[in-house]
Amino acid sequence: MTPESTRHLSEEALDDVLIGLGSPESHSHLEVCAECRAQVKMFLGDVALFNAASMEWSRNRLPQAGASQPRRVRMHAAFAGWAITAAAVLVLALGVLHQRPETAPTQANTVQPQPVNSEAQIAQDNQLLQAVNAAIGQDEASPIEEYKISESPHPYPKAHSKKRMK
């Protein structure tokens, strides 16, 4: 018969200890079993290292420019983005109108259309895509606006709200 002290904790029992739900028997075992105790210590040590590093990372992380700016500044940036997009679309539209022949299309120019993948067309497409990309990047609406957060009566965690209802 194996003595109680040398029979190591099962994985489940060890996990219960780690999550704070260990049985009295498990704690008694840990007092006499260096191997199981070392496993607990090793895990908690790794978690402590992770917590220290991640907290330091978070403290040193500078807020993103767009996220930390006042809302008015962000609104201006968003407006500028859309203005650039609108300007790009206008330039493209004018370009198309300028290239359109004033006379009715002849058989020749309907038979030989301008290649879709011409360098000029690709450059125009890229310009438009960059303008749209810039506009999207600057116009990420804050969820604060989308949630319409105000002095609402339910700003608390849902689970807690339930508890207060009791």
């Binding site: 994985e11 489940e12 996990d15 219960d16 780690l18 999550i19 704070g20 739900l21 496993q39 090793m42 895990f43 790794d46 978690v47 402590a48 290292l49 992770f50 917590n51 220290a52 590093a53 991640s54 907290m55 330091e56 990372w57 978070s58 403290r59 040193n60 992380r61 807020p63 993103q64 996220a67 930390s68 999207i136 990047g137 990420e140 804050s142 969820p143 604060i144 949630y147 957060i149 105000s150 002095e151 609402s152 700003p155 608390y156 965690p157 849902k158 689970a159 807690h160 339930k162 508890k163 207060r164």
Partner: protein, 204 residues
């Protein structure tokens, strides 16, 4: 008049130290909530860390952190002190994160900004006092491995793991905040720990 006062039975004031202590503590927390700058100073990094590790997206975490602090400040009058302020704030952050996950915005943002790379650099921020120079490289490697394991967990498993081992909440608190049965929380934690054990092998 004097006689009337003298004849009034003197009742010793009932002292309830626990209640007084709780009220004083709550008053302190409420005054902390009243100062938005103090609230941000004390809790911003912790909430940002939690949401970043939970979602893997530092930019989303920044937005959610700001939303959390703003909501807490606006709803400060409703804080009853039935849990710690940290727990209350974490609960708000979790609810906001859930809203993001339910909507399509989260995936959209993830596609727009692939900024998870600098999350992997967390290990390099390990404070010098946390470990000796000889063990520093090994410690960094362990942090990276643990983060990699967390990334592989489901959202619930990862969040509950962080609530337990980073936010140091009890299983009961986690259960209450998430509206989840204690046994369900326990099951998630067991699965998360099993994953950690299987990935890190004999190291744990």
């Amino acid at each position: 008049m004097a006689t009337a006062i003298l004849s009034t039975p003197r009742i010793a004031p009932v002292r309830r130290p626990q209640l007084e202590s709780a009220l004083a503590e709550r008053a302190g927390v409420i005054s902390e909530l009243d100062d938005i700058d103090e609230l941000v100073r004390l809790h911003r990094a912790r909430i940002r860390r939690f949401v970043t590790c939970s979602t893997g997206d530092p930019d989303l975490a920044e937005t959610i952190t700001q939303d959390t602090l703003l909501r807490a400040y606006k709803g400060r009058a409703g804080f009853l002190g039935d849990c710690s302020l940290s727990t209350w704030l974490t609960g708000i952050a979790i609810n906001i994160t859930r809203d993001h996950l339910r909507s399509g915005r989260y995936k959209f943002w993830k596609q727009l900004k692939a900024t998870a790379a600098d999350v992997h650099e967390m290990a390099s921020f390990l404070p010098s006092e946390a470990v000796s120079p000889e063990r520093r490289m090994l410690a960094k490697e362990r942090i990276r491995e643990l983060y990699a394991v967390l990334e592989g967990l489901s959202y619930n498993q990862r969040t509950i793991f962080l609530m337990k081992f980073s936010e140091e909440m009890s299983v009961d608190e986690i259960s209450e905040i998430l509206g989840m049965a204690v046994n369900t929380v326990r099951t998630h934690l067991h699965r998360a720990l099993k994953a950690v054990r299987s990935k890190l092998g004999a190291k744990i």
